[in-house]
């Protein structure tokens, strides 16, 4: 088992004819992801790596009614329209890869997603991968992931690869690794992800890779403190040395006044009894301890 990315994910690639989409469609197919079709705004026809290309999501879904997941390889300007198109066609899992999606566009997609009861991942995410299900949705480099008991959720792509490759080297596998997205507002932030992992029978422990900015780490800590999450959770936080008011990386990694500080996040996790790693090496040490108990 795993969360969101599953063997039963039947996937559409919106914008499949772009260069990056072609490359990652190939990578996903090689990994085992069931890609059923793709769309190209302004005209379908033909194939990409054997995957049929359609004019619209509606047309693709009509032809393949079992499609339940879509990945948006479209530019930030086109993300709103593409996501709304997928939601209106009834697709229940939408992965928005693009960075720099306008804030109001993003909010509109999330509002519509909520109305339709869909899971929206991102924007600004490398996607997610479930090694035991041989399914990845997005462009995470699959060579660093192996099946196992740890669920991983992260606000960063590259840092996830750095940390998970070390888990893998130490024989600690993963149920699902998900990049929730680096934007201040994402469809499925840490609290929702914790709920998913809580309900997944194969996940024995959860690693959150968080950073400064926003309050989602604090909200996750509250859920753990209030025993809404019963599985062991451990955390790695970065951005401890970031200056206030300067975006050090992700758009979401911004400290404004007292909001989003590392102190506030550390205090919340401490109160909830959640171990927090200081360094990448420390993550592995804590992972081993958590899994032993």
């Amino acid at each position: 088992m795993s969360i969101i990315a599953k063997r039963s994910s039947y996937v559409l690639i919106q914008g499949i004819t772009g260069a990056a989409a072609r490359l990652h469609t190939k990578n996903m197919l090689d990994y085992g992801t069931k890609i059923i079709g793709g769309t190209r705004p302004g005209g379908g026809g033909g194939e990409v790596h054997g995957v049929p290309v359609y004019d619209s999501v509606e047309q693709a879904v009509e032809k393949h009614p079992h499609v339940n997941t879509t990945i948006l390889f479209v530019p930030p300007k086109g993300t709103r329209e593409a996501a709304l198109e997928a939601l209106s066609a009834g697709i229940k899992t939408v992965v928005m890869v693009a960075e720099h999606v306008p804030l109001h566009d993003n909010l509109e997609v999330l509002e519509e997603g909520e109305k339709k009861g869909a899971v929206v991942i991102g924007p600004n995410t490398p996607g997610l991968i479930s090694p035991a299900e041989q399914t990845k949705l997005g462009f995470v480099p699959s060579q660093y992931f192996i099946p196992g008991p740890v669920g991983v959720a992260s606000r960063s792509g590259t840092l996830t690869y750095e940390i998970v490759s070390r888990l893998t080297l130490n024989g600690i596998g993963q149920t699902t690794c998900i990049g929730v997205g680096g934007d201040p507002i994402v469809g499925t932030p840490f609290p929702k992800i914790l709920q998913f992992f809580e309900e997944d029978p194969e996940t024995n422990a959860v690693l959150l890779i968080g950073e400064i900015g926003g309050t989602k780490e604090e909200e996750a800590a509250e859920m753990i403190r209030d025993r809404k999450i019963t599985k062991p959770v451990f955390v790695y936080l970065v951005g401890r040395t970031a200056p206030e008011g300067k975006r050090v990386g992700h758009a979401g990694a911004l400290i404004e006044g007292n909001r989003g500080t590392i102190e506030s996040k550390l205090a919340s996790f401490r109160e909830a009894g959640v171990p927090v790693a200081d360094t990448p090496g420390d993550v592995i040490r804590i992972a081993k301890e958590v899994l032993k108990s």
Binding site: P141, T158, G182, T215, T279
Partner: protein, 379 residues
């Protein structure tokens, strides 16, 4: 992107909100001329991107043209939060009956837009919300529909019944701005109620979402920076690079790919007593990209060492190594270089750098230790 007050006021006026009669000036002489045109007391406000100008004592009043001249002269050219005061907004002074607060922004917890109103304006709304939550009204609304009549009514219920119709009208105009300009935040603080029962925006705050600027390209221009800095920032934006100067006395430059890992490196360096000077976080890097990235660091005279972190997941170590090699063969670096390299085609990459006597390190922690040693040994 935060607009200057006078720009935000132009937007407000276009959308039907009343603003005081005013003029933007760049000299004390112009300020005097406009004050005599007004023929009464004026307010003089420096146009800078810093918030809280009032607290900094930067907002001046003048009762006649001569005083307007003197006040303008004393403030033009001064520094306000690292920004030189180059222009002033001179406005007629309004006879105020009451000062309200009204604003719209995003509630990051519920992921919805929120309208905020308070009969206590002209002060820091965050502080009011904390100290006297009962006199601040917040109403979440739908991004696709905008506030409903019920939302507006709930919001203005914080005001006296006689003021509610007027405040509803103002809020509706504010929403038009919020929506049309992709606002992260739009705020009138204070909104004055004049002695004649009219509303007027005495200050104007409008922060347009950076990612929406392709829809508002007419607003893009340098603010609080020189033309050169502005052009530099625009060029980084095009490449999707993030370059940050951290510490003017820092010693270590960092070239890395990805925001999360870059933050982790900064943390590790500081944890071990090092001082990062600047960093460049590139999007997916290739040989060409790393070649041009080097040029951002090469001429920095303060750097004692440069750390390059390569974790090749989707790109290739050998490709990036070729980019570094090409750069170094054409431009001798003035500082030592530490390359951390791991991932796809790692051995090939290592081999390429070895040809030009650049050693690579596999472990992130070891590479951080190495740069700190070099930085500290060099002092």
């Amino acid at each position: 992107m935060r607009l200057y007050e006078y720009e935000a006021k132009e937007v407000f006026q276009k959308c039907g909100l009343a603003i005081p009669r005013g003029q933007i000036v760049a000299s004390a002489e112009e300020a005097r001329r406009f004050a005599s045109e007004i023929g009464g007391p004026v307010v003089i406000k420096p146009q800078v991107s810093a918030k809280k100008r009032g607290k900094a004592g930067a907002i001046r009043f003048a009762s006649d043209p001569e005083e307007a001249f003197r006040q303008s002269q004393s403030i033009l050219g001064t520094m306000l939060n690292d920004e030189k005061v180059a222009t002033l907004l001179v406005e007629e002074k309004i006879e105020i009956d009451k000062e309200f607060y009204i604003g719209m922004t995003i509630d990051y917890s519920s992921l919805k837009p929120v309208a905020i109103a308070s009969p206590l304006g002209g002060v820091d709304i965050e502080e009011v919300a904390q100290e006297k939550p009962a006199i601040v009204k917040k109403v979440l609304f739908s991004i696709s529909r905008g506030p409903t009549e019920k939302d507006y009514e709930e919001l203005v219920s914080i005001f006296k019944p006689t003021e509610q119709a007027l405040m509803k009208e103002v809020t509706k105009k504010l929403y038009q701005i919020f929506q049309k300009y992709d606002a992260e935040m739009v705020e009138i603080n204070p909104l004055a109620l004049t002695k004649h029962g009219k509303s007027m925006a005495l200050d104007a705050f409008l922060n347009v979402d950076d990612d929406s600027l392709f829809r508002h390209s007419d607003l893009v221009k340098p603010r609080g920076m020189t033309r050169e800095q502005f052009d530099f920032e625009q060029s980084l934006k095009e490449k999707k690079w993030k370059y940050i100067e951290m510490d003017p006395d820092g010693e270590i430059g960092i070239l890395s790919s990805g925001a999360g890992i870059t933050m982790a490196i900064l943390d590790l360096i500081k944890m071990h007593g090092g001082r990062p000077a600047n960093f460049l976080d590139t999007a997916q890097m290739n040989a060409e990209g790393i070649y041009s990235a080097f040029s951002l660091f090469a001429d920095n005279k303060k750097l004692k060492v440069l750390l390059v972190n390569i974790f090749a997941g989707l790109n290739r170590c050998d490709d990036l190594a070729m980019g570094i090699k090409k750069y170094l063969q054409q431009h001798p670096l003035r500082m030592p270089l530490v390359v951390r390299m791991i991932g796809y085609r790692e051995d090939e990459g290592k081999g390429i750098l070895k040809e030009i006597d650049v050693e690579t390190i596999r472990s992130l922690e070891d590479s951080v230790e190495k740069v700190i040693q070099i930085a500290q040994g060099a002092t």
